[in-house]
């Protein structure tokens, strides 16, 4: 079965408290040199049947209407290799 990955991240202009909390903690843990951290979601979908353009278009629609909240989030869809 093929795997399609949908990554959902907050839009750049939206506050990301989770990423900020991680970033602020890093120096205390001894990790320097990370200028910014953003935290998002990763969905791994196991797709039955061929992952052709039609299937990807459907997953794109699914991401747009359901997996991501496009008021505040962006997403990308890609086939996992």
């Amino acid at each position: 079965m093929a795997r399609v990955v949908v990554d959902v991240m907050l839009k750049p202009e939206i506050l990301d408290p989770q990423g900020q909390a991680v970033q602020r903690a890093l120096p205390r843990l001894g990790f320097e040199g990370i200028a910014d951290v953003r935290q998002g979601k990763r969905f791994e979908l196991e797709v039955e049947g061929p992952v052709d353009d039609a299937a990807l278009a459907r997953i794109h629609e699914m991401a747009e209407t359901f997996l991501a909240n496009t008021v505040i989030e962006d997403f990308t869809v890609r086939v996992d290799s």
Partner: protein, 749 residues
């Protein structure tokens, strides 16, 4: 492009400005020009436009809200009244309590989770800004039809948002409302209430005084949140290649807010704060102009010192940003170091952004150049005031003459029984525990009562047991039938709920949710409701201490039901004397207090069984409410009753069913002489409560009611495992529970 400085504005009087896009009317723009004696700069225009918006200036509602002051009852308990972030009430033992309701309706429709979450965040900062530790929240909610697909999107998101934010702040959620009606389909109402406690000497006000005192901005960095229309302005006056997209939705960071609370309370404890204001709607524009306006001098702000999350923000956008979790304090110069130290302790970013001046102007600079020079009062407190035309809608008469008392009633006991089950299982009457179970009601360890009790109750002193109780109520159906009476019914119900738990009602806050003020019919509803509420508060002796107005809740031409939500705060000297709602002792006698008339207009029964809204709402007699309240309070204090539950929508059968389920005990009811079973069970006459009286107290209790002239009718006894109406039907408690508790999870889980 060049910065639009004050100097530049004076030199270029004919520059076109986007006042209309920013929501200003032509005469408002002209007035700004007249105030300033020149055209406003972009930054000034931005400030005036948000501060003169309906939301911030109350321009349509102000003329009506004045009554709350004019008709305010004599009341020694009021320490801070309308006009501050929230009113403050003396509850004795040197404690003061502040509480307020606000709306976050529209944002919660767009993005339910974040809209509701930031609604909690905003009201909590208002309470904090008064000097108080927030101790509880409540959430009066209204949604579209329970089975509408969009309600499945909105309700779970709103509930998760309120829980997500409030739980993370450590504030017990002690009550609220959940009401469904198709009229709220495109305009859900998300109102949020917060209660805070402080000592008298800790009260803080939003004002900037003392020349040379520093203005400190602390909390989250400023980002492009909620700027909306102001980006128009930024793109007009600035390089239009900047990032065009500014999110209209704000994302809350409850962790940051929790730090802000603890940090601010520590600043208060060390007496480091002269004046303080939270940043909510209109952000820095609001905070700086309100602080300066209420203080004695002027203020100078270096806007480029504001810590940013997004370096591309223009000065206009910084002024407008509604980034959450920020506060602004006025601090004596000698205390600034300590102030910043405490902020550092709590990992809170704090920056001196300006100072109080001896002038009378609010002056804002951007990299040394002046971009704002205004009299702060004209921004914050002297905005436009409208006397909007209002008129009783034509349909009102027809609505009122469509009498609900003429609707067909059940003809057999079988039918009566079926209708009882239908009403208590309908979404509006069903148990909301699936929702409230997502809220922490135990945190802080002072919760005496929480939902589903009649009011939430919080202990505020561990030694003496001093406590406060708060309830919120509003019935849009009643208010639609008669706005004047509807507002008074909301007040009466909330008052009754507080008294039912044994607390003495002291003060009122409210959130007035209506349609468009530009519709004369809506404006009439608003005028009538405020008049009703103001008159009612005078009659009950409970002053309005503050509140909020939310207008334009309508889709196209269709407005929501007029929905004034009324919150009543009460005090109880010792929470050990509180009266819960549960029927838990077999053999105790059930008494119905008050008169039951045939009043079905706007009732739950008429909605559930006939999908009908018409006629007149129940009559309100506030003297009677007061008397009922006194009886309930005395009975609690003197230990004459073990349970009490107020009667409201759904009538007696609803109340008895809830109290039985809460205590896990059944009841045997007898229809009193002079009433038919249907009216007895379903009428929604106001001014009533049902109480459980231990047999040993019966005489004392009935004597007291008799002596004070309150009708008290013995209607049955706590008994067994079913809800029986003698001679009519019996309902096993398990069946009642299933009917009452399964509905909401089935719809939303």
């Amino acid at each position: 492009m060049t910065l639009d400085t004050v100097k530049h504005a004076a030199e270029t009087p004919d520059t076109e400005q986007p006042w209309a896009e920013l929501g200003l009317k032509q005469d408002e723009y002209a007035r700004i020009r007249a105030i300033l004696g020149r055209r406003p700069t972009g930054a000034e225009l931005a400030m005036y436009s948000v501060m003169w918006s309906e939301h911030c200036s109350y321009k349509s509602s102000k003329v009506h809200l004045r009554q709350f002051g004019e008709k305010a009852p004599e009341n020694d308990a009021l320490l801070v009244g309308i006009g501050e972030n929230a009113g403050v009430v003396d509850v004795g033992q040197n404690y003061a309590v502040t509480f307020k309701v606000e709306s976050h309706n529209h944002p919660s429709y767009i993005e339910p989770y974040q809209g509701a979450a930031t609604g909690i965040g905003g009201i909590v900062r208002d309470i904090l800004a008064m000097g108080a530790r927030p101790v509880a929240v409540m959430d009066p909610l209204r949604f579209g039809a329970a089975d509408h697909p969009d309600t499945k999107r909105v309700l779970p998101g709103v509930v998760a948002g309120i829980g997500g934010y409030g739980n993370c702040l450590g504030l017990p959620n002690i009550g609220g409302e959940v009401v469904f009606d198709p009229c709220y389909q495109g305009n859900p109402l998300v109102n949020a209430l917060c209660v805070g406690v402080m000592k008298h000497e800790d009260i803080h006000l939003a004002k900037a005084s003392g020349t040379g005192n520093k203005v400190v901005l602390y909390g989250a960095r400023t980002g492009g949140d909620g700027i909306g229309g102001v980006s128009v302005l930024a793109s007009e006056t600035f390089d239009s290649t900047g990032p065009a997209k500014r999110p209209a939705v704000q994302v809350g960071d409850p962790f940051q807010e929790k730090l802000l609370i603890e940090c601010t309370l520590e600043l208060f404890r060390e007496n480091l704060v002269e004046g303080i204001q939270d940043l909510g709607g209109a952000g820095l524009s609001c905070a700086t102009s309100e602080l300066a306006s209420a203080g004695s001098g002027g203020m100078r702000v270096e806007l480029d010192t504001v810590p940013l999350r997004d370096a591309t923000l223009s000065p206009e956008e910084i002024l407008m940003s509604e980034s959450q979790e920020r506060m602004c304090a006025v601090v004596e110069p000698g205390k600034v170091d300590r102030f910043l130290e405490i902020c550092e302790k709590w990992d809170v970013i704090a920056t001196v952004i300006g100072e109080v001046t001896d002038g009378e102007r609010l002056e804002i600079f951007w990299h040394g150049e002046q971009i704002v020079d205004v009299p702060p009062r004209t921004v914050a407190h002297e905005g436009p005031v409208y006397e909007r035309p209002y008129a009783r809608p034509e349909w009102q008469d027809a609505l009122q003459s469509d009498d609900a008392n003429r609707l067909p009633r059940p003809e057999t006991d079988e039918e009566l029984r079926a209708q009882v089950l239908k009403v208590i299982s309908s979404p509006n009457q069903a148990s909301k525990s699936w929702i409230t179970g997502q809220y922490d009601r135990f945190v802080q360890g002072n919760t005496v009562l929480a939902q589903p009790e009649d009011s939430g109750m919080i202990r505020i002193d561990e030694e003496t047991g001093l406590g406060v109780a708060v309830a919120t109520d509003g019935n849009g159906r009643y208010t639609k039938l008669d706005p004047y009476a509807g507002a008074r019914l909301a007040l009466a119900e909330s008052y009754r709920n507080v008294a039912a738990t044994g607390a003495r009602p002291l003060a009122i806050s409210n959130c007035l949710n209506f349609g468009s003020p530009e519709d004369p019919g809506v404006m009439w509803q608003f005028a009538e409701a405020t008049r009703g509420l103001a008159d009612g508060c005078l009659e009950l002796g409970t002053p309005v201490t503050g509140g909020n107005v939310s207008l334009y809740n309508q889709t196209g031409e269709t407005a929501i039901h007029p929905t004034p939500v009324v919150a009543v705060l009460g005090v109880i000297d010792d929470v050990a004397r509180r009266t819960p709602m549960a029927f838990s002792e077999e053999g105790q006698l059930l008494y119905l207090l008050g008169d039951t008339k045939e009043e079905l207009g706007g009732s739950a029964w008429s909605q559930v069984v006939h999908d009908h809204l018409g006629g007149l709402p129940p009559a309100v007699d506030l003297d009677r409410e007061k008397l009922l309240g006194e009886i309930l309070i005395s009975a609690s204090r003197d230990g004459m009753i073990d349970a009490a539950h107020d009667l409201s929508d759904g009538g007696l059968v609803q109340a008895v069913a809830e109290s039985c389920l809460r205590g896990g005990k059944g009841a045997r009811l007898v229809v009193p002489d002079g009433l038919d079973a249907f009216t007895f069970l379903f009428s929604e006459s106001a001014g009533r409560a049902v109480v459980a009286v231990p047999r040993s107290e019966e005489l004392r209790f009935t004597d007291m009611c008799g002596a004070r002239g309150l009708p008290a009718t013995r209607i049955g006894v706590i008994d067994g495992e079913s809800l029986d109406v003698q001679g009519h039907f019996g309902l096993p408690l398990a069946e009642v529970r299933e009917a009452h508790e399964a509905t909401i999870p089935a719809l939303f889980a």
